[in-house]
Amino acid sequence: MLSKHASLASAAVLVVILAVAPAVLGEYYLSFLTQLLMMVALAQAWNTISGMTGYVSFGHATFFGMGSYAAALLLPLGVPWWACLIAGALVALALSVPLGFLTLRLRGPYFAIAMLGLNEVARVFVTLWVDLTGGGSGITLSPELLPSLTTSYYTMFLIAVAATVIVAAIYHSRFGLELRAIREDEGAAEMVGVNTTRDKLAAFVLSALIPGAAGAVLVMYTSYIDPAAAFAPAVNIQMIVMVMFGGSGTVWGPVLGAGLVMGLREVFWAEFPAAHLMLLGVLLLSVVLFLPGGLMALFTRRKLVRPEVAAGPQERPDG
């Protein structure tokens, strides 16, 4: 693994660069970085439940969308933008408890499909509740209600940092070890004292908070939200792709994945506008095929088994 000092030094440099970015970057690049930081936060959120426990969620955009709508509905009422941010996280939190309780009983593809279905249910629900949400037309916010781009940037920056710190704290904790044991073998984990239901639910709730907050910031940044954008299946796919690209279940994988995928997409789009999605697809496919642990696997080193310790011939189990 990367040494602890190298990881901390890299993180410190990255944080300093991102902290001073608004002073030197123009609006276009600041806008790009805001989106990049949003994807870092979303990828880390997905990593908290799916990377750590192996429960692959195709529905985390639900929490993102709910956070967006919470902010979009509260801002016109005169609620301060930072309170809308907290409200977005709390709405996602309130939604995640019953949803996690219901869906985490399912495993493997059943959980994935249930989450995908949930995303669609949320989208249809918001679309049909026209009186409150404006239906398919969405909600447009008045510019005077919204914070500046720099404020949105710094808010998204703090959310991304918070998400990464949460994942790092979980990863190095007993709780994180239990989550990784669940990912490896849930039955065996339970048999060594891991309360799998409690741990999965806690990870699920934590993973919902960040998208709720990020969704609230996004609506302040774009000043418009509609069901198709808030609950876009593409958001789910992007979270998954970025985590897989960087390294699922690791602390830095989602940061690396989000940074590289967003960066490469931007470069490919500028240089090869006709073929940029194809190029990105080939690259992602290559990483998944040849580096199933993601790019972080390149930084991982394992101790080799010392053959002299393994004494005697191995027999096959007899049943």
């Binding site: 007993r174 070890l177 239990e178 990784r180 044991a181 990912r183 490896e184 073998d185 039955g187 065996a188 984990a189 339970e190 048999m191 060594v192 004292g193 891991v194 309360n195 799998t196 394992r302 101790k303 088994v305 010392r306 310790v309 393994a310 004494a311 005697g312 011939p313 191995q314 027999e315 096959r316 189990p317 007899d318 049943g319």
Partner: protein, 243 residues
């Protein structure tokens, strides 16, 4: 009167039309080593699944130290002091050997790391503490799985064919550990096909066949029982068992 730490009464488990356990009774004396033998499909592993909470579809009663645990979830059973290993090794492949052990310690056990290292040292696996579970040989995985259940210092340990697929060197280490821990008061219930092991370790033996206990008692009384002779086989192994 014997002090029973684990008492199983009338445990019945039905899968569809198949009655895997037909009212099994088991009395395990505190500090003893109890063997369970029987042919494949006799219900030995199903009984372990029910006792450990991995299978919660059975009826009857399982009392651990006077507390009903039938129907309780495995993590709760484990926290009550009953741990088990599986018939086929189930180490966590992408966790290191050390992590495999630490995750099984009690939640607020601050000495978990040093205890894990101590256990690894005892079986000469200390050089492997940062090796992933998947990189171990099968025998080493079984040994790590055994060490894992020791992390919470359980009062009862169920071992399901612990020596299957393990080379003779590691097997000897495993049985030495069982003897040592039993000497310290840990109770063991062992499913094993090797009659030499049953003969050597177990004070009491249960013979299961088609979901029923068909014989129980000391290894000698079971060995002379006509039903269990068919189960344990004949020849040198059986003679050693009866001796």
């Amino acid at each position: 009167m014997a002090d029973h730490i684990l008492v199983v009464r009338g445990v019945r488990r039905v899968f569809g039309g198949v009655e895997a356990l037909k009212g099994v009774d088991l009395d395990v004396v505190r500090g003893s080593v109890t063997g369970i033998i029987g042919p494949n499909g006799s219900g030995k592993t199903t009984l372990f699944q029910v006792i450990s909470g991995m299978d919660r579809g059975a009826t009857g009663s399982v009392m651990l130290d006077g507390r009903e645990i039938l129907g309780c979830r495995p993590y709760f059973v484990y926290q009550c002091g009953l741990a088990r290993t599986f018939q086929l090794s189930r180490v966590f492949p992408q966790l290191t050997v050390l992590e495999n052990l630490i995750v099984a310690a009690r939640r607020h056990d601050r000495g978990a790391r040093s205890r894990a290292l101590e256990l690894l040292e005892r079986v000469k696996l200390e050089a492997y503490n940062e090796v992933l579970g998947s990189d171990l040989s099968y025998g080493q995985q079984r040994l790590v799985e055994f060490l894992r259940v020791l992390m919470s210092d359980p009062s009862v340990i169920l071992l399901d064919e612990p020596a299957a697929g393990v080379n003779p060197t590691l097997r000897a280490t495993l049985w030495d550990m069982v003897r040592h821990l039993n000497g310290l008061g840990t109770t063991f219930v062992i499913i094993e096909h090797n009659m030499d092991v049953i003969s050597d370790l177990c004070q009491e033996v249960y013979v299961l066949s088609e979901g029923e206990v068909i014989a129980r008692g000391s290894r000698r009384s079971v060995a002379t029982n006509s039903c269990s002779r068919r189960i344990s086989g004949s020849g040198a192994a059986h003679e050693r068992f009866a001796a």
